[in-house]
Each structure stands twice: as C-alpha cells, then as structure tokens.
C-alpha cells in the first residue's frame, strides 16, 4: 500500500497508540437504547471486529465513529483528537472512511467513475483521465481483482460493486477504514482476497474496524473482538483468547443450540420438477436436473457461476431463458414472466429482500398475504379481519412477533424481514420454492431458524432449491447438491445422509475452472 502518514491539521497525533477511543457513548432511537455507556479503544494498525446480533448496536457504534450517527452523550477521539458530534466531514478529515453495508454505487456510471466519485482527480478544473485510469489499475493490482474500467457498475455483481467501494475508500489515503459487513455478499475466494487485503492494510499502519456476522472470519483475521449485546459491550478479547462458541454465547447471552442432524431424505413418488438444457445467454448453459417433493436441493458455486441465474430463470424473471421444463411429469412452456412462474407453482425468495422482496411501506401483515390477495377476499373485496387472521396464522409458524404485524415491513430487522417473506410463501403454498441466499445478512441466532423453517416447509411436501455463498449452510441443509462452475454443471453430490463436506464442493469447482476470471 502506498500509505503516507501525514500530520496535517486535524489529524491528531499519528504516534498515538490508540487510533479510536469512545468514552461513555449513549445513543437512543426513540425508546430503543441502541448504545449505552460504550467505552471502546481501538489500537493503531489493528484489525478490530465488532460482532453481535442484529440490533445489538454494532452498526450504530460504527456510525458514531464515522460521524454519521450523533451520540446523545459521550466522546469520540481519533488519534487523541476529539471529533464533533455527527460530522462526517470532520471524521473524514481525520482520516476515517467508511464502506457501508448499503452500497453507494451509481449503476449508470462506469466502474472507474464510481471509484473516483466525489474525488475526481483534476488540475485547474480539468479532469486528469489518464492519472485516474492508472491509479485505478494499480488499485486493481493491489487488490488482485479484475479490472472493469469501462463497464457500467450496474452490470457488475454485488461483490464487484463492493470492491469498487473499497477502492474508493482507499483513494483518500485513509488511516482508519470502517467496514460494515464487508464479506456478506462475497464468494469464498473473493472473501479470501478481502481478508488478506485487510491484513495487508493493517500491516501498513491502517486501522480497520469491521462489523461481521461471520464469526469464523472474525476470529481468523481480527486482532481484537468486541461483542455487543443489546447496546452494551458483552465481552472483549484479543486474538486467540476467545473461541467461536464463547463469542456466540456472549452475543446471545446463552449457548447456541447444537446444529441439528443433517436432514434425511429418500426421494419417493414422481419428480416435482425436471429441467433440461436450460440456457440463459451470458450466464448458464446446458443445465439439467430434477427435484422431488420434500427435497431440498442445494446449488453450490462461486459468485458469478450462474447459481442465481438458474433460480431467476425458473421463476420467470429472465425473459431470454430457454429450456424444457416438466412439472409433475407434464411438459410446460418455460415461464417468461414471474406471473407464469407463479402459475406453475414456482416462487422465488429473492436475494435482495429490500428491492425485490418486501413492499416496505406496506404493513408486515399485507406483505405476508401479498402473493395471494384473493385468499383474503370475497368477490374482490378484501377484509381486514381476513388479512390479520391469515397473516397471524402464517406468522406464528415462523416466530414473528405478531404484535408487530401492523407495522411497516421497513421497520423490521433483517431476520424478521426474511421470516416475513418465508411466511408469505408458506401462506400461498407454491409447490416449488427457490431460495436465493436465504440467510444473507442475518445474524447467527436467526440463521439457523431460517434454515429450520425451510426444512419444515420441505417436510410438508414443498420442493426447495437453495443457493448460498456459505457452503457450510448448503451442506447442512440440502439433500443433494449441484455444483456449478462458470455457468456449467460440474457435479452432483448426493447428500442424503449428510456425508458431503465443503471441501468436496470446492474441489469440484476448482478442478473444472479454466483459469482465473
């Protein structure tokens, strides 16, 4: 890294051993006390992880450091220099940059333009295009990622967009980088790249504070871990002083139930779904597989291997998909619209809950019955009582707090939002459910719950396809695993008795890879 330590105005004392110091930070949102008396010290050049369940206060804490969230009480010091409340510019001047969970990519601009967004290199008001391109290329080399100079950012995957975001953060010569869930949407090898990069950055003197749900990576890369629970610090420990189980216990305030035995499943009866020669131009080719009632089929593969494309093609979201499809033994026309897909009994639990799943301003109850409005209606007239009855019934099975059903879906936590979407499909009963990253961005406690709910739906006869970046999860939940690499099916692993492990999937993927992308 080309990191020079400046001691310009307002950047505090660079020799201070403590990069960030929080003292007695309180912050409430309405009646919710998000942070209560937080004292936190982050050592210079360390990788410091903040973990905790959703709503435990870790992201708020990150926001306070970034000057994005104003604390009600308490002080923030960066390299000994006190920061004003709620002043992102001031924090930035002190060398603090953030990469948010919600990406701030402008889809219509090129990858390079996105990286230089708001900090265009210019001399005398004229942009220095060549300098920017060179800087961009060298950043790509440092991060070991492929260079999409002129590709529109909207065409890149979420993982690639996030890398752009990190590159943008690096441009401003930061001393402290705050990362909110940096690896949530990355594939294993991309995750490796990022984690290694965090190490490199910290060795060059940059302090890194990150929030993550993935405890394995937290314990692997961080020098210190702070565990939050309901707005207070539950425990803190240096590298090697805390185990995964101990941190989970600290997060939940109780021990996590043991992972259930892998689900046993013997295909019986006729196949629910058969797909032959599915092609989606530019994404997958020649995919064939079948699926039985009550079966959970996992699709493993790297980001960009076409996992999501298969699900979306089946759900009728990709109009240019082609292939043959049989449902309950009857050949049907390939669904070209989501409505067609729904008619065939296929439902998609989309990867992006916010933009494709929930209607945020509508109540949780209405979101549950959304795909089956006529179920709560008589001759076209909807009865409020029916909405409440059906949604309450559906919600109870998923442990959703029914007193919150009248609230807008936007106000619920990520875990509850996902349960809401599951409840939607439990309510309208598709025969085939396609779950795209069902546990993405959900904390450990709720993750297992989501998987258990999916298994219950399968037990009730639904045929389910799961795509997940977390191979561990695929292995734990599915009865059979399709392995994808570069848009092709490279293996099918029987997992009826839970014999498959993650490495086997990776082996299949990398054996067939035709070199880096």
């Amino acid at each position: 890294m080309t990191h020079s330590q400046k001691n310009s105005n307002g950047r505090g004392n660079p020799r201070s051993e403590i990069a960030i110091e929080l003292e007695g930070i309180d912050r409430s949102f309405g009646a919710t006390r998000a942070l209560q008396g937080i004292d936190l010290k982050v050592r210079r050049g360390s990788v410091h992880a903040l973990v905790g369940e959703n709503g435990a206060g870790k992201s708020t804490c990150l926001g306070v450091i970034a000057g994005r969230v104003a604390q009600d009480r308490g002080d923030v010091r960066v390299f000994g220099e006190p920061l004003d409340h709620n002043n992102p510019r001031r924090a930035r001047a002190a060398g603090v940059v953030s990469v948010y969970q919600e990406l701030t990519i402008v889809p219509e601009m090129t990858a390079e333009q996105n990286v230089f967004l708001g900090q265009v290199a210019a001399r005398g008001g004229v942009t220095q295009d060549r300098a920017m391109r060179n800087r961009y290329r060298s950043l790509c080399r440092e991060l070991e990622v492929s260079c999409h100079l002129d590709v529109k950012a909207g065409h890149l995957s979420v993982a690639e967009q996030q890398l752009l975001e990190i590159m943008r953060a690096l441009l401003s010569d930061p001393r402290i980088i705050l990362l909110d869930e940096p690896t949530a949407s990355l594939a294993p090898h991309e995750r490796e790249v990022l984690l290694r990069l965090m190490g490199t950055l910290s060795r060059s003197g940059i302090t890194i504070v990150f929030v993550s749900h993935n405890l394995d990576e937290v314990l692997e890369v961080s020098d210190r871990v702070t565990v939050f629970r309901s707005g207070v610090i539950a425990t803190e420990a240096d590298r090697g002083e805390i185990t995964k189980d101990q941190s989970v216990e600290a997060m939940l305030g109780r021990a996590l139930e043991a992972r259930p035995e892998p689900r046993r499943f013997e295909p019986s009866g006729a196949e629910r779904l058969r797909v032959q020669n599915l092609n989606v131009p530019g994404a997958v080719s020649d995919i064939s597989f079948d699926l039985f009632p009550g079966e959970i089929l996992g699709i493993g593969g790297l980001v960009g291997s076409g996992r999501t494309s298969i699900l979306r093609a089946l759900a009728g979201v990709s109009p240019n998909a082609s292939g043959q499809i049989w449902i309950d033994g009857k050949e049907r026309r390939w669904p070209k619209t989501p409505r067609n897909g729904r008619r065939l009994g296929i439902a998609l639990l989309p990867e992006d809950r916010k933009t494709e799943g929930l209607v945020g301003p509508l109540s949780a109850a209405e979101n549950i019955i959304l795909s089956d409005l006529s179920g709560s209606a008589h001759s076209g007239v909807i009865f409020q009582r029916q909405i409440i009855e059906s949604s309450t019934k559906a919600a109870q099975g998923f442990g959703i707090d029914t007193s919150r059903l009248s609230q807008p879906a936007n106000n619920l936590s990520g875990g509850n939002q996902q349960k809401l979407l599951l409840a939607r499909w439990a309510h309208s009963r598709p025969s085939i459910l396609l779950a795209d990253e069902p546990t993405r961005g959900i904390d450990v406690g709720a993750k297992q719950e989501i998987l258990t709910h999916l298994q219950r739906l399968a037990d009730e006869g639904m045929a389910i396809v799961i795509v997940s970046s977390e191979l561990e999860e695929i292995v734990a939940a599915s009865n059979r695993i399709l392995v994808l690499s570069e848009g092709r099916l490279v293996g099918t692993l029987e997992n009826t008795s839970g014999g498959v492990d993650e490495h086997e999937i990776l082996k299949h993927i990398f054996q067939t890879q035709t070199g880096g992308s």
Partner: protein, 336 residues
C-alpha cells in the same frame, strides 16, 4: 406514509387478534397527528374560514364551492390512483380541454346520454394511450404525459380550428347546473365517486395490489402481479376523471374550448400531495385527497369572498404546498 395499512389494521372497527397489543395514549396521540395531520389542518381551515366570513358556511356558498371544484376533484381522484401506483400525469388538463370539445360536439349531434358516455370513454382512451406509453414502451411518465398533453391540446385545436364550439343542445346544461334532490348533479357525482373509489382503493384486491405495485414494483412482480396492467389502469382512471371534468366544464360554460381546464393538472397534483399521498408511490389514500381538496377549495373561496386579488391565491397555494411537504418530511425524520 403507511396509514392506509396500519390505520386499517389498528382501527377499532377491525377486531384484532388478542396478540395485538394496545397502543399507549401518547403513541396514539402522536400517531393521530402524524397520520391525520392533514385532517386537523383542513378542519382548522374550515373553522378559520367560517370565522373570517359569515357567508362561508351558507348552503348556497358550500354548493358553489363544491360544484366549482368538482372537475378538479375528479381529476385529483384519478391522480391519487396514478401516484399511488408510482406514476405521474401531466396531461390531465389537456384531456379536460379536449373533452370539453368532444362533449360539445357530441351534445350537438347526438343524445345527452351519448354525450356523457362518449366524453368519459374518450377521456379513458386518452388515459389508455398514456398508460400504454408508460408501461409498454417504458417511457418516463413525466415525458410521456408531457408529450401527450401537447398532442391532445394540439389535436383539439386543429379540430376546432382554434375556435370554441358553442353547445346548442338545450338539455346539456343539466350536467353542470341540474339538481338531484336539491343538490347539484356535479356535487352528487363528486361525492359518490369519492366514496366508491375510496372503497376500491382500500378494500379491493385491485387497490391493495396497486399499493404493492407502487411501493415495490419488483416485489409485486415476483408475487405474480400484473404490475404493468395495474399501472396502466390508473392512467385510464385519471383519463376518465378528466373526461368527466371536461363534461362538467362544457355544460357549465355551454362551450367546448381546448384551453379550458389547462390549470387543472397542477392543481390536482397540488391537492394530492397536500393530502399526503406519496410522490414515490405505494402510500396515500382517497380520504387524503378529499381533505386536500377541501383545504384548497376553502382557501380559494375565502380569498374570493374577501375579494382579495387572485395572485395572492397562487402565492398561498405554493406556500401551502411547501409547508405541507416540509412538515411531512420533518415528522418523518423525527420518527426515524
């Protein structure tokens, strides 16, 4: 922003399951000001108006105000649907103007019934063109309706050769000036349609689906809804409303004139936003538009009664709009 949903869910009329906790008093009070703020403001306006002018609360004046604003109300009603569905319509005023010509021509050459039906259907067809442009060709609603606005007015002017069409049918005045049980026809029409469409929006499958389509197009599509059809239908509705508005104008003024009702577009949008229906779709209600309409009509009327220069009305309208939207943003920011 979610009043339609949450209000209905927590209203005493809907017996909730026992799990639904009772809201505390302070919360209820805050909810009342946040959700029903526009009602309080409108009520305040009415009280103030009746104090300022003793003519305001006379039956003759109320009838006058309502019938004057009936065309605006009909367009605003349709606009409510368009905006909840996530769209926008700049061409309503042009459809009103063109409809006055259609109404006048049909009244002169056909029966009264044909004139009424034909004008409303004509407006609906114009709206259908808008809907097709927006949902099929995926042209931005702003651009599409800006263009059709120009086309509708231009076509009507070409037809009339830039003259006005005088209505010779003596029965035609009935629409604007006739009465049913002592109440003017246009008022009966306005109130009836508001009630019917309030029901459709809040209680029908169509209405609920429209909220979903406007609130999150992708999610609605993945839930199996025909989002394009839903949104196109809202343009047909506002078109029909504009047709009816043109009919009333033509009857009141006994002429068809393409330039009549040009101002109605922006007034209708003002009324809808004043009521608190979201510019971004997915939230709003018919009663909100009704409240916005009453508020705007009251203010206009008071200015008329006090004989204040009409330029002041325009200034007030603008100030009101900014205040309404500003207050809405403030309460929302404090809530989050």
């Amino acid at each position: 922003m979610t009043e339609s949903a949450s209000e209905a869910l927590t209203s005493p009329a809907a017996p909730g399951p026992p799990e639904v906790k009772r809201r505390s008093w302070t919360k209820t009070a805050r909810g009342l000001t946040e959700t029903y703020g526009i009602l309080w403001v409108t009520l305040l306006g009415l009280v103030a108006a009746s104090l300022i002018s003793d003519q305001f609360l006379t039956w003759a004046n109320i009838q006058n105000v309502l019938s004057q604003n009936a065309p605006l109300g009909l367009v605003a009603l349709g606009m409510t649907f368009v905006m909840i569905g996530g769209g926008f319509d700049l061409s309503s005023g042009a459809i009103v103007g063109a409809s006055t010509v259609v109404a006048a021509e049909l009244a002169n050459h056909q029966s009264l019934g044909v004139a009424i039906a034909g004008t409303i259907i004509g407006g609906a067809i114009a709206g259908g063109i808008n809907g097709t442009l927006v949902t099929r060709l995926r042209i931005n609603p702003f651009v599409a309706t800006l263009a059709t606005s120009s086309i509708f007015t231009g076509a009507a002017l070409l037809y009339t050769k830039s003259l006005t069409v005088v209505v010779t049918n003596p029965n035609f005045g009935v629409i604007g000036n006739g009465t049913i049980f002592g109440v003017r026809t246009s008022i009966v029409m306005l109130v009836a349609l508001f009630v019917i469409f309030a029901f459709i929006l809040s209680k029908s499958i169509y209405g609920r689906a429209l909220y979903a389509a406007g609130g999150n197009e992708q999610a609605a599509r993945l839930s199996g809804m025909r989002v394009d059809l839903l949104r196109a239908s809202t343009y047909v509705l506002v078109g029909a409303g504009a047709g009816a508005a043109g009919l009333i104008y033509a009857s009141l003024l006994n002429t068809g004139d393409p330039s009549n009702g040009a101002a109605i577009t922006l007034d209708a949008i003002t009324v809808v936003i004043l009521g608190g229906t979201s510019l971004f779709g997915g939230a709003g209600a018919v009663w909100r538009t009704a409240a916005g309409l009453v508020l705007l009509a009251t203010i206009t009327n008071v200015f008329d009664l006090l004989a204040i220069e009409s330029a002041w009305q325009q200034v007030t309208k603008g100030v009101l709009l900014i205040t309404a939207v500003g207050l809405d943003l403030l309460t929302r920011r404090n809530a989050s």
